[in-house]
């Protein structure tokens, strides 16, 4: 590249420095969004695997009756076993001070000094916990609302209530965030377990296989060997869990979320290309005579096009330099946010080189691609036409039928007509600007629509659940016993006793396909789900099954009319699928009539209660739970967990927060790109019409009036983009919401169009129009009249 060639590139951009800066800023926003998400993806996938694998996550967990040390030692000697360790986990409840009882998942570890599988990392306070003390998972401390050193009440499945001291916190990377699950994870020793009135034994075998731990088939083979070994020694295996090897339970969700974010980051970058189109179209148009001169002195189309495309490259390069620090910072913030969400620590925020290379590549290529069409069209002008006078060359406004139609729109204010009609003069530019801004509007409205739709969807889901309180019992108990307790409980309006168990589609099934089976009265008053196919349970049904949509989408064959055989405990049971119930955001569940359990000899028993209360307000729930617990205790019924409808709602809200945040952040980024686009457009419009501004001043317009004409034009463009966004928002936000929710939760939304979003975005887009045109308008009004009139 010759010096003259290089200087022209740089000086042209410098001459247009304000607009150049705006375009660089917009591209930088796109690159920052793209590189930020990309670096977060690189950090999180690396750190999640590293952090998770560093804990030595179990290859498999076998749930047995009772472990003895000899069995564990013997297993450790078996071929194929890398490490083996006994554990236990119990469900219970926990309460700090006068607070509400919370569900507790209590983990029992034999020797905290020798944890080799699914390691825990001490965070604050004491380590290991002494007898009478409990460690709490770091995120769970806020769920129970306790602090280190505080005494908390713990109620075991056996109904014993004891006081334990919270001695410290640990990080347990394998657990989902406690806030989302609304569960408190606690860690105690066997001695503490004995103090809690439970027999001090372990019942889980955590295995780390020798050989290839990442090979699931190998892991399953070893697990089968272990099962046979345990059973050969007289033990029994109730259940086996084999997680995806080496993969954090939430890794898929996180990958998906980041992929979506990266796609939208790239989208923001592509939109910033619109600004490049506008800037270079205007630049080439303003330099038509220069292009003619360059051609006249021997410049080829290719050489001249290269000149302007190089400017696009410079814009991309400058934007990359500006964007990288912002992208790195954004990637760091996003990584941190998601690591808290997924409950793991990030040891290093180092960003690998491929992120920089890919961001640079995309950041440089997008502006050049965007510039290609206007530049190639611009330089294709013939020399004679290029060297002609501007007035001769440009046919101007009024030639097309559209212009004439627009002139037919009358009004009493000529300055207002001028503003509105002026906005239509550069129609390609107008369309690109409006489209960019409207895209941001669609995202903004989508954020509100998706939020409202999610709320509506969850409302409908919870409305189908008629009970105010759900109680899980520690064991099967006679219903009559429960009835006596409930009759003594003040404020209970109605109740039902259900049986909740598990099933698997595979014989001997003990893996990830396991799902919940709920036995309930066929004429239940506590559940009225939305049936999307077939029918709900009817009195007289015995082997009828209604699958929820999650189960039906996960496992093949769950269609109305089909017969399915499920492994339920040791038995294989055949069922007639009669319907599919819609239960968004729910785990897989099959509903069967209680009559089945009665036919199997479990008549008149229950392990799960559903209750309606006289006072169903959130504030009344803790007291209602207390009263019910006391009554059940008095009749020897042990409640394991209890959840109000509000507890369920809180969990949903925590899960869905990230969707709102994601959509809002995207609309902010796109809004900023759109705003910069509008500012560039207004700046170009004013530049190209500088002489007209001079004419206006010459025939009596005050500087303020000129300013107002430009600002109203900006507001008109903002209004048009707002209206376009409104038109597009209904179908697009519905599609976007469904896409997000389908990908993340495998369900669909009950779509609601939020009118507040339309009004808000109209106000925002008009304000953006005013703000974006403020400075160009100010410049237009301050420009000396003589210079404006002399402007070419």
């Amino acid at each position: 590249m010759t010096t003259a060639y290089r200087r022209k590139i740089l000086r042209d951009l410098w001459r247009e420095r304000t607009r150049t800066a705006l375009v660089v800023l917009a591209i930088a926003l796109g690159i920052a969004a793209f590189s930020g998400v990309l670096s977060a993806y690189a950090i999180l996938t690396r750190e999640l695997n590293r952090g998770y694998l560093a804990t030595n996550p179990a290859s498999a967990t076998l749930f047995v009756d009772r472990l003895d040390d000899a069995l564990v030692r013997a297993l450790a000697e078996q071929p194929g076993i890398g490490e083996v360790e006994g554990r236990r986990s119990l469900r219970g409840r926990i309460k700090a001070g006068p607070g509400e009882w919370r569900n507790l998942q209590l983990f029992v570890v034999r020797d905290y000094a020798d944890v080799r599988i699914s390691r825990l990392t001490p965070q604050r306070g004491a380590w290991p916990p002494a007898t009478g003390e409990m460690l709490v998972e770091r995120d769970a401390l806020q769920v129970v609302n306790a602090r280190i050193g505080q005494e908390v009440k713990v109620r075991t499945p056996g109904g014993v209530e004891r006081t334990l001291r919270v001695s410290g916190t640990v990080a347990d990377v394998g657990q989902a965030q406690a806030r989302m699950e609304q569960v408190v994870y606690g860690y105690v020793t066997l001695a503490t377990l004995a103090e809690l009135g439970e027999e001090p034994y372990l019942d889980q075998l955590k295995l780390l296989v020798a050989g290839d731990r990442m090979d699931e088939a190998h892991v399953r083979g070893v697990v089968e060997d272990v099962r046979r070994f345990v059973e050969a020694r007289g033990g029994s295996v109730r259940r086996v869990d084999v997680p995806k090897p080496g993969q954090h339970p939430h890794a898929d969700l996180m990958g998906l979320l980041l992929l979506l974010m990266a796609s939208f980051g790239f989208f923001a970058l592509a939109l910033s290309g619109v600004l490049v189109v506008n800037l270079l179209t205007a630049l080439v148009a303003s330099q038509v005579r220069q292009i003619g001169v360059m051609k006249a002195i021997g410049g080829s189309d290719g050489r001249i096009a290269g000149l302007y495309l190089a400017q696009a490259l410079v814009l991309g390069g400058a934007a990359f330099v500006v964007a990288v620090p912002a992208g790195l910072w954004g990637g760091r913030v996003l990584s941190h946010y998601l690591s808290v969400f997924l409950n793991f620590d990030i040891a290093s925020f180092a960003v690998p080189a491929w992120v920089f290379v890919l961001s640079a590549l995309v950041g440089l290529v997008v502006p050049v691609l965007a510039a290609a069409r206007p530049v190639l069209r611009g330089v294709a002008v013939c020399v004679r036409e290029a060297l002609a006078d501007n007035e001769v060359r440009s046919p101007g406004f009024g030639v097309s039928a559209f212009d004439r139609a627009l002139a037919g729109v009358r009004g009493s204010s000529r300055p207002l007509l001028l503003s509105v009609r002026n906005s239509f003069r550069r129609r390609t530019r107008l369309v690109l600007t409006i489209a960019t801004l409207a895209t941001a509007g669609v995202f903004f409205m989508s954020a509100l629509n998706v939020q409202t739709s999610l709320v509506r969807t969850i409302d409908r889901l919870l409305a189908a659940r008629k009970s105010d309180l759900s109680v899980t019992l520690a064991q099967m108990v006679p219903l009559a016993q429960v009835e006596r307790a409930i009759r003594r409980t003040q404020g209970v309006k109605g109740y039902e006793g259900w049986i909740v168990t598990e099933a698997s589609p595979h014989a001997g099934g003990a893996d990830r396909d396991r799902f919940t089976v709920v036995g309930l009265p066929a004429d239940s008053r506590m559940l009225a789900p939305e049936i999307v196919k077939g029918r709900w349970l009817r009195p007289g049904d015995t082997r009828a099954l209604v699958a929820n949509d999650r189960l039906a989408s996960r496992l093949a064959g769950f269609e109305p009319g089909a017969e399915v055989t499920l492994a339920m405990g040791p038995a294989q049971v055949s069922w007639q699928v009669v319907g599919i119930a819609r239960e968004p955001f729910s785990p897989s569940v099959a509903y069967v009539p209680l009559a089945f359990f009665e036919s199997q000899g479990h008549g008149g028993t229950t392990n799960s209660l559903r209750l309606t209360l006289d006072d169903a307000a959130a504030a009344a729930m803790p007291a209602a739970k207390e009263r019910l617990d006391a009554s059940l205790d008095a009749f020897g019924v042990r409640a394991l967990t209890s959840s109000s409808r509000y507890d369920g709602r809180r969990g949903f809200d925590e899960h869905l927060l990230m969707i709102y945040v994601f959509l809002l952040v995207m609309s902010l980024v796109l809004g900023a790109v759109g705003g910069l686009g509008l500012m560039t457009t207004m700046s170009l419009n004013v530049l190209e019409r500088r002489r007209e501004m001079g004419v206006l001043r010459a025939i009596g317009a005050s500087p303020f009036l000129v300013w107002r004409i430009v600002v109203v034009e900006g507001a008109a463009i903002g209004l048009m983009s707002g209206l376009l966004a409104t038109l597009l928002a209904w179908p697009l936000s519905r599609g976007l919401g469904d896409l997000l929710v389908t990908l993340m939760f495998r369900t669909r939304l009950d779509f609601v169009f939020e009118p507040l979003g339309v009004l808000s975005w109209l106000a925002i887009s008009i304000t953006l129009g005013v703000v974006a045109s403020f400075v160009p308008a100010w410049h237009a009004s301050r420009h000396p009249v003589r210079e404006a009139l002399a402007h070419e």
Binding site: E692, A698, A701, P703
Partner: protein, 232 residues
């Protein structure tokens, strides 16, 4: 409509005393006008002639308040234009001076009638309902009433310049300045435009026309500029 402060014919309406104007360019300071003294009376039709770069446009710009002198006094219709603040100049110009440009400079997105009504909007000289009839009357005066609702791009050059003259007369100014008003027109159309400008001075409007042409019919005076100095 008559001038609200009509001066008697012969009475000085425009007075320039020792007016100089220099422009600073990358090549140095360039004097556009040098100590020009000029008195123009109400109703005069004055031609300002000279070569390209002789200072004709600068002189017109100073009279119209579009530019300010580097030194000297510019008094137009009793107003000391060189001392007026910028914000006061636009409304003053809108009421006092009509401006006609070489390339017409009609606003392309407004119809011809709307272009003529625009200065009335700016200066509020008439009630809103009176503005369109006034615009149509002016367009009829310049012979293009039938083009009132067309966009400028649909008009010929001569028609556009006539529309520009109608716009310059919108607020019935006492002075009309026209910078090369026929420079972009064929000779026949140019003659029609010049006739129009002559007829304005017949009605008491002071008309100052900057032109390359040395021989113009119907003018009262000719001011010739050479290198920024008035030689007569």
């Amino acid at each position: 409509m008559s001038h609200p402060q009509a001066a008697s014919p012969g009475e000085s309406l425009i007075s320039l005393r020792k007016v100089s104007k220099s422009y600073t360019t990358p090549a140095g300071t360039w004097p556009a006008l040098r100590e020009v003294d000029l008195e123009l009376a109400a109703g005069e039709l004055v031609a300002v002639t000279g070569r390209s770069g002789s200072g004709k446009s600068t002189l017109l710009n100073l009279i119209a308040g579009i530019d300010r002198p580097s030194s000297g006094d510019v008094v137009v219709a009793g107003a000391r234009v060189h001392e007026m603040p910028e914000r006061a100049l636009s409304p003053w110009r809108g009421r006092t001076v009509g401006v006609v440009f070489q390339f017409f400079q009609l606003l392309p997105t407004l119809t011809v009638a709307e272009n003529v009504m625009l200065p009335m909007d700016f200066c509020d000289v008439l009630a809103a309902r009176e503005r369109r009839p006034r615009a149509l009357e002016l367009l009829a005066r310049v012979g293009i009433a039938d083009q009132a609702d067309k966009l400028p791009a649909q008009l010929s050059g001569g028609q556009q310049q006539r529309a520009a003259i109608a716009r310059a007369l919108a607020n019935d100014p006492r002075i009309v300045v026209a910078d090369e008003p026929t420079g972009n027109l064929d000779s026949e159309t140019a003659a029609v435009v010049m006739d129009l400008l002559c007829s304005l001075s017949d009605r008491g409007t002071t008309v100052i026309v900057a032109t390359h042409e040395r021989e113009l019919a119907g003018i009262d005076r000719r001011v010739e500029l050479v290198d920024g100095a008035a030689i007569r």
